[in-house]
């Protein structure tokens, strides 16, 4: 049963949610399984060899929030980018473009849809991996704030990538050469304090590092950077990307010729 729609953007959000829900094996369960495999392998190999936060947190427990956040980010990006490029390439985007939906409507619907998928997958990863180590949420609101902002940022990046890419190959390049490296080099699997000084310094230019580190603070009350600093960096990055994306949508770049 499809609910009555209150306004245009909500219909587009509903479409985005229904779209990934209809293929939930691929969009939700598969990434949860992937994260679980990461946990099983990395925790088995590294649990007794890696010390994080001066030994105050077990490696497996340290890894879980990183995997949760990584799943949130990657799936938020995947949702908006794949939806948009599929619509562009198959041509059905025309049904959205001929409607009274404004650039803000399009932005809100695509990004919220991406956030819902990212957070749904993150929740699934948390529920499945939480059995493997004792976890507590020391500051749940901090964790929630970083999950929301992180998924919004990646949903927005996905929207931009979907607008920019003309073919799946270009989107895959964006994903594999930008999103994946930034995610993997953000401290998901390690604390940046374990890196040499040069790489530690470089990590501070990676906005994904602040998302993961701030999210992890929500669990342990411990982080590599002060959480307020991370929140400020992430919020400014989110605002900047939002402004850029709204400008791109307003101009109709690669959407309206």
């Amino acid at each position: 049963m499809i609910p009555a729609f209150g306004s245009g953007w909500f219909a587009l959000l509903y479409k985005e949610l229904l779209r990934f829900w209809k293929v939930s094996f691929q969009t939700i369960l598969a990434p949860v399984l992937t994260a679980l495999l990461y946990l099983l392998i990395f925790s088995h190999v590294l649990e007794s060899r890696v010390s994080v936060f001066d030994g105050r947190v077990a490696y497996t427990a340290f890894l879980i929030p990183g995997l949760v956040m990584m799943s949130v980010l990657q799936n938020a990006f995947a949702n908006s980018s794949s939806s948009l490029i599929q619509s562009k390439i198959t041509g059905n985007l025309i049904f959205v473009l001929v409607t009274p939906l404004s650039p803000l409507d399009l932005f809100a619907a695509y990004v919220l849809g991406a956030m819902v998928r990212g957070i749904a997958v993150g929740l699934g990863v948390f529920l499945v991996t939480g059995w493997f180590a004792p976890l507590s949420l020391a500051h749940p609101l901090w964790a929630l704030a970083f999950a929301l902002l992180g998924s919004a940022i990646l949903g927005t990046l996905g929207l931009l990538a979907g607008i920019w890419a003309d073919k799946f190959d270009q989107l895959a390049a964006f994903q594999n050469f930008l999103i994946m490296p930034l995610t993997f080099l953000s401290g998901v699997f390690y604390s940046i304090r374990s890196l040499p000084p040069f790489w530690q310094a470089l990590s501070h230019f990676n906005p994904f590092f602040y998302m993961i580190d701030g999210f992890r603070y929500g669990f342990f009350g411990l982080s590599d950077v002060a959480p307020a600093t991370s929140l400020a960096v992430v919020a400014v990055f989110c605002l900047g990307l939002t402004a850029l994306t709204l400008l791109v949508l307003r101009r109709g770049y690669k959407l309206r010729h």
Binding site: F5, L12, K22, S87, I94, V96, L97, P100, H257
Partner: protein, 298 residues
């Protein structure tokens, strides 16, 4: 009265191609209007400008008085567009497709109208099937349904019957005629000129981004006062070549001023020793008018 569609000096260039070169056009409310032209004439670009899919380089376009750029929300609420390409979203059923499209326009409780659309387009039995499971003709009907979900007063049909079988084409036109009778303005582009002749009250012909003819169907047909002769022969006297509007292998379609011209043509062929194998006179129809106008502007 506010025109249904008002296009003022609209121009659009794509690289070296001038797709639209200062088009002026007014379509009145309630008209069944035909937009004809060869491939690449600019028909789809003009429709895209109207629908907000393409930005014009210059000029103004309004739908029932609402500018398609400055007041795009209202302009798009008043317009329904059936695109030329057979596109669909493979994730959804027919009913979901129409409900979601309806939602984009902020419409609540639109189920009764969606049921009516499904009925008129003979899609009721397939309403809960995925779009992928439909034939090409059925997908095209859903496209038409999507353009109608918000009951737009102005409906643009860009080649709506391409690839559609004859039976379905007839039922489709019955439905579109009903919409026109109910007050909807219809703008049609088609390559089937007999369809345009049967349906449209007024016709514009586009070529190379310019309107080369714009008149009522009656005036266009009556302006074609001459006669058309189709004849089969091995060759044609060179002096008569300019009168040829279409040439197939061993067959010529000629546009003549009157019957005296025909007499002269036959005399010229006898004199040149060319045997006329077959000869037929044709009533003036829109296709001949179209061919003549296009030839005049080539």
């Amino acid at each position: 009265m506010i025109p249904a569609v008002e296009i003022i000096n609209v121009a659009r260039r794509f690289g070296a191609v001038q797709a639209l070169a200062g088009v002026d056009l007014v379509v009145e409310p309630g008209e069944f209007f035909g937009l004809l032209g060869p491939n690449g004439a600019g028909k789809t670009t003009l429709i895209s400008v109207l629908a907000g899919l393409t930005h014009a380089d210059a000029g103004t376009t309004r739908v029932l008085g609402h500018d398609v750029v400055d007041d795009y929300r209202n302009a798009r609420r008043l317009l329904g567009v059936v695109p030329q390409e057979l596109v669909f979203d493979p994730f959804f059923t027919v009913r979901e497709t129409l409900q979601i499209q309806s939602g984009y326009f902020g419409l609540r409780d639109n189920g009764a109208w969606i049921d009516e659309i499904l009925h008129h387009l003979d899609l009721t039995a397939r309403a809960d099937d995925n779009m992928r499971a439909l034939s090409g003709g059925m997908k095209r009907r859903v496209l038409i349904g999507q353009a109608l979900v918000h009951k737009p007063p102005v409906i643009v049909l860009d080649e709506p019957t391409a690839g559609v079988d004859v039976e379905l084409r007839q039922s489709l036109w019955t439905f579109i005629r009903k919409l026109n009778r109910d007050g909807h303005t219809i703008i049609l582009t088609t390559h089937y000129l007999e369809e345009a002749e049967a349906l449209c009250g007024r016709i514009a012909m586009l070529k190379a981004g310019q309107i080369v003819a714009l008149d009522t169907k009656r005036n266009l047909l009556s302006s074609f006062a001459g006669i058309t002769v189709r004849l089969a022969a091995a060759a044609l006297p060179a002096a008569w070549e300019p009168r040829v509007v279409r040439r197939d292998e061993g067959s010529y379609l000629l546009s003549l001023g009157d019957y005296a011209d025909l007499e002269h043509l036959l005399a010229a062929m006898r004199e040149a020793g060319i045997v006329v194998e077959e000869l037929a006179l044709q009533e003036a129809d829109l296709e001949q008018v179209f061919l003549r106008i296009m030839a005049r502007h080539s």
